[in-house]
């Protein structure tokens, strides 16, 4: 199968039961994406697949043949600055332990790509599939708010596109 991950093309084989998450973490060493619930309940494994968010723990790798994937590592490839959303997460202190953060970032990134000027309620609804146990929700909300209000286009779409 062929998979484009963060703009890089990979030719690889995957057994039928292997998930996209396993492929990313174990085969491509992209460990930013986390395994938490392993059944699509928490959103920690969220990645972008052809422009839409998916739970990579529930997505079979073989079903992604020909697809384009964006992970947290793709938001700021080596040698580039952090994305506006990542910088806003730092500025607003939207990451405590940071374990849910990669999934939150991809969900927020995709939300803003699809709805550049969301209301607070649209952000709350759009982000409610990504759980955080440290309680960073108010700070994540204000980080997304700040990026949306600044009207900064999300730059990393050159990978997903």
């Amino acid at each position: 199968m062929r998979l484009t991950v963060n703009g890089r093309v990979h030719e690889m084989d995957a057994a039928p039961a292997v998930t996209l998450l396993e492929l990313l973490r174990d085969r491509l060493s992209l460990t930013g994406t986390k395994l938490v619930c392993d059944r699509g309940e928490c959103g920690a494994c969220t990645v972008q697949l052809d422009g839409e968010i998916v739970y990579s723990c529930l997505t079979l790798a073989v079903a992604c043949d020909g697809a384009k994937v964006l992970t947290v590592e793709g938001l700021a490839p080596p040698g580039t600055e952090l994305s506006p959303l990542q910088r806003a997460f730092i500025e607003k202190d939207a990451a405590q332990c940071g374990f849910c953060t990669p999934g939150q970032l991809i969900a927020a990134h995709t939300l803003l790509a699809q709805n550049p000027h969301p209301t607070d309620d649209e952000i709350r609804a759009g982000m409610s599939g990504n759980l955080c146990r440290c309680g960073t929700y108010p700070k994540i909300l204000s980080a997304i708010r700040a990026v949306a209000d600044a009207g900064v286009p999300q730059p990393a779409d050159h990978h997903a596109a």
């Binding site: 405590q96 374990f99 759980l131 146990r133 960073t136």
Partner: protein
């Protein structure tokens, strides 16, 4: 009662001091630091301490670069999976490991008898569902898990007890080898005379409150990777206490302490559940030893939600008695706690003795063992459960006396810590009440009737106390590198709290360095000096003073070295922004210029945490205010507004500290509204060991939160002026929300979580009865 600390001895001498850890008081012998920096009071001119600087390791956390335990890979690493019991009590009649051992990719299998005694793993007798019975080690996690399914276990089931009532019944089955009830039961704490207090009262209220089992649900599960090099063991562990894990491993495996190294870089939350080594740690270390290859063992979510600790449930029968003016005359609670198969006596009782100035207080706590996974400390252990009973009873009393619940609390404010009759190092609880109320817009007068509106709206308040003094032993080194940058070295942990940032700020302030020149290196038992577990809201107040002292020691050495270069006396030098200036001159050198001139001569400051002040209560206080909407058709409760005011002494980084407040409140909202581990009484199994059926709050559940600090530096507590803050904010959240629901619907809420069906039942009660709550008769076992 703790013994008094002796007056400070000479530097280097040893003294006795007391340290409070999550309500437990420990006496320790500690050496006097070589010098004690002057305390930073409110008048100290500080630039970096107190500043809202961004979390220093945030770039790693937002980029996916931060390496957590499950991200650790080692050459040749294998994966282990633990098979767990499917019954709550019994004996293994037979277990067949051969089929699993023959599965593809499998390297090794362990079962009963394969682990050393000290690891307490893979026993033949089963005490709870989820208990480890065997483990598989294979090339991949998937192969290990698949093979574990092939292990055939036959059990002889025995009767079990899953509830307090079942475990303490006359003909109760034997929950474990020793008794079903903790030996100290009932644990009695008492002051004054309850009977006298009841006689003196104008009003007596009796209630029975119930709290559920809450699961930590850290997003990163428990996990470890282990590797042996000869007789030396290295373990990467997601833990709140690297030195404690080292001690656990050495003891369990019979290895000298010096041969075990524990590393923890980043971790994905702990909340009290990650204070020790566990089955995953021993399993990884044992397989690694047997196979001569690195082994990683990470809990899956079901194991995490079944067998990695919990906040135990409680039933609290409370009697609260007062004069008409609200003056408390008696406070009594008889409390039942089903611990699980293991646990300790950190129960709900203590906060009853510490919160208010009541002269007559008595708690009787009975801790029972039940056939379920053992409890573990969970953010504010005991006080969270106790606050639900105590603060709900205070709110009930306020309703009965028609007093403002804040006025009632102010009336019973205590100027001295009443349990041990000690002075406070500082106490701004009254300001928490007044400033919190002002920000919230608290008023119990002129409330509009809400009967015509929907949803119903209500407001509630509750308060909190928690010991946060920290204490010794804790050590730090601060070294200057030849390029003028600074390393802070301390064997502590950052759970996501911001410890790296806070310790760096303290070092930069004390050295007069730029914060960007400072790096905190933590989390390695072999290469860093000792600090204790990051529990009990202790890290800042324990490690912070050691870091400040180490930085001042380094600065003194730096000034000695620079004095000759600048042709000045060390006493004439001062430093700021990593530059040393001769006072009242234009002569100066940067740190980098001095260290470059020194070459590889190393400036290294040493710091240690001194003893705590004698006979002093060092505590964090707070008051929280909730507004809720209750949907009268569905029973759904939404928190619509939340205000929290806390006093924790000096705040080193307000942004990070406010994140701690919000985090505690959000976990408290979960505790109040959704979270409840369901253990089936007839099966003895956890029915919701996942994140769908065990509900933690989502972003959509969280209202605007205004959480802030009142008060200032606590120069008595320690020389940084800071107390702890991590646990306090979860303590009063649930009773504040329950009071708001009561305010909305007119019926007291005696049991959490306030799920829709529970609230609907209360709404039906409200319809049947008058809106004022009737006084419930005390249950039969209740006295006095």
């Amino acid at each position: 009662m703790p013994r008094k600390s002796k007056p400070p001895a000479k530097p280097g001498g040893f003294v006795q001091t007391t340290v409070e850890i999550e309500g437990r008081t420990e006496t320790r012998i500690v050496e006097m630091p070589a010098f004690e920096p002057a305390a930073w009071g409110d008048d100290a001119e500080l630039g970096i301490v107190g500043a809202r600087v961004p979390r220093m390791d945030a770039p790693e956390r937002v980029s996916g670069r931060a390496r957590y335990t499950a991200d650790i890979t080692r050459p040749g690493m294998l994966h282990a999976y633990i098979l767990r019991s499917t019954i709550p009590r019994g004996k293994i009649r037979s277990i067949d490991l051969a089929r699993a051992a023959a599965m593809p990719g499998v390297f090794d299998v362990m079962g009963p008898g394969d682990a050393p005694e000290g690891a307490r793993l893979f026993g033949r007798e089963i005490f709870y569902a989820g208990q480890p019975v065997a483990a598989v080690c294979a090339e991949t996690e998937r192969a290990a898990r698949n093979a574990a399914v092939a292990i055939a276990v036959e059990y002889d089931a025995l009767p079990f007890a899953a509830t307090f009532e079942d475990a303490t019944a006359k003909d109760a089955p034997r929950v474990r080898a020793k008794g079903n009830v903790m030996e100290i039961a009932p644990l009695v704490m008492s002051r004054g005379n309850i009977e006298a207090g009841l006689k003196a009262a104008d009003v007596v209220i009796r209630r029975e409150y119930r709290t559920p089992v809450q699961l930590h649900t850290a997003l990163e599960p428990h996990g470890a990777a282990a590797e042996w090099e000869g007789d030396r063991l290295t373990v990467w562990e997601s833990t709140q206490g690297i030195f404690r894990v080292r001690e656990n491993l050495a003891k369990a495996l019979g290895v000298p302490l010096s041969k075990v190294r524990v590393i923890k870089d980043y971790m994905g939350g702990g909340f009290g559940a990650k204070n020790s080594a566990g089955p995953h740690t021993y399993t990884a270390a044992l397989f690694a030893k047997r196979l001569g290859r690195p082994v990683r063992c990470i809990n899956d979510r079901e194991a995490e939600q079944t067998d990695s600790g919990n906040r135990p449930a409680s039933t609290q029968r409370v009697t609260i008695a007062a004069k008409k003016d609200g003056t408390l005359t008696a406070l009594f609670a008889s409390i039942d706690i089903p611990l699980g198969i293991t646990g300790y006596e950190g129960g709900p009782g203590q906060i009853y003795h510490e919160m208010y100035a009541c002269p007559n207080v008595r708690t009787e706590e009975t801790f029972a063992y039940v056939n379920a996974s053992g409890m573990a400390a969970f953010r504010g252990p005991g006080y969270v459960e106790g606050a639900f009973g105590l603060e709900s009873a205070m709110n009930a009393l306020a309703r009965e006396l028609k007093l403002d619940p804040i006025a009632l609390r102010v009336k019973n404010f205590t100027k001295r810590e009443p349990r041990q009759d000690r002075a406070y190092s500082g106490n701004n609880l009254l300001r928490c009440y007044s400033e919190g109320a002002e920000v919230f817009g608290w008023s119990t007068e002129n409330r509009k009737p809400t009967t015509e509106n929907r949803p119903l709206v209500g407001k509630g308040v509750a308060a909190q106390v928690w010991p946060t003094g920290g204490g010794p032993p804790a050590y730090a080194l601060v070294r200057l590198n030849p390029d003028g940058t600074i390393d802070v070295l301390s064997g502590t942990q950052d759970l996501g709290t911001g410890a790296r940032t806070v310790l760096s700020q303290l070092a930069a302030e004390a050295l007069g360095a730029r914060l960007s020149d400072v790096r905190a290196i933590i989390g390695d038992t072999e290469r860093l000096p000792y600090t204790g577990n990051s529990w009990g809201s202790m890290t800042t107040a324990s490690v912070g003073p050691a870091v400040r002292m180490a930085a001042e020691d380094a600065r003194n050495q730096l000034f000695e070295a620079a004095a000759a270069m600048l042709k000045a006396k060390p006493g004439d030098l001062e430093s700021r922004d990593s530059r040393i200036v001769v006072r009242d001159t234009d002569r100066s050198m940067t740190f980098g210029e001095v260290t470059k001139a020194l070459g590889n001569v190393m400036i290294m400051g040493k710091g240690s945490r001194g003893p705590n002040p004698a006979d002093t209560a060092i505590m964090t206080f707070g008051a929280q205010f909730a507004e809720v909407e209750v949907d009268r058709d569905t029973g759904v409760v939404r928190v619509t507004r939340f205000v929290a005011a806390h006093d924790a002494g000096r705040i080193i980084n307000p942004t990070l500290a406010e994140s701690q407040l919000e985090g505690g409140i959000i976990q408290g909202i979960g505790y109040a509204l959704f979270e409840e581990r369901v253990l089936d009484r007839s099966l003895g199994l956890v029915m919701n060991p996942n994140m769908h059926d065990y509900k933690i709050p989502t972003m959509a559940d969280i209202p605007p939160i205004d959480a802030f600090f009142v008060g200032g530096a606590d120069a008595v507590a320690n020389h940084t002026g800071a107390r702890g803050i991590a646990e306090p904010p979860i303590i009063p959240t649930a009773p504040a929300i329950a009071a708001a629901v009561c305010d909305a619907i007119g019926v007291e809420q005696l049991e959490i979580p306030l799920t829709p069906w529970r609230v609907l039942a209360a709404l039906r009660t409200a319809e049947r009865q008058s809106v004022t709550p009737s006084q419930r008769p005390g249950p039969p076992r209740h006295r006095p």
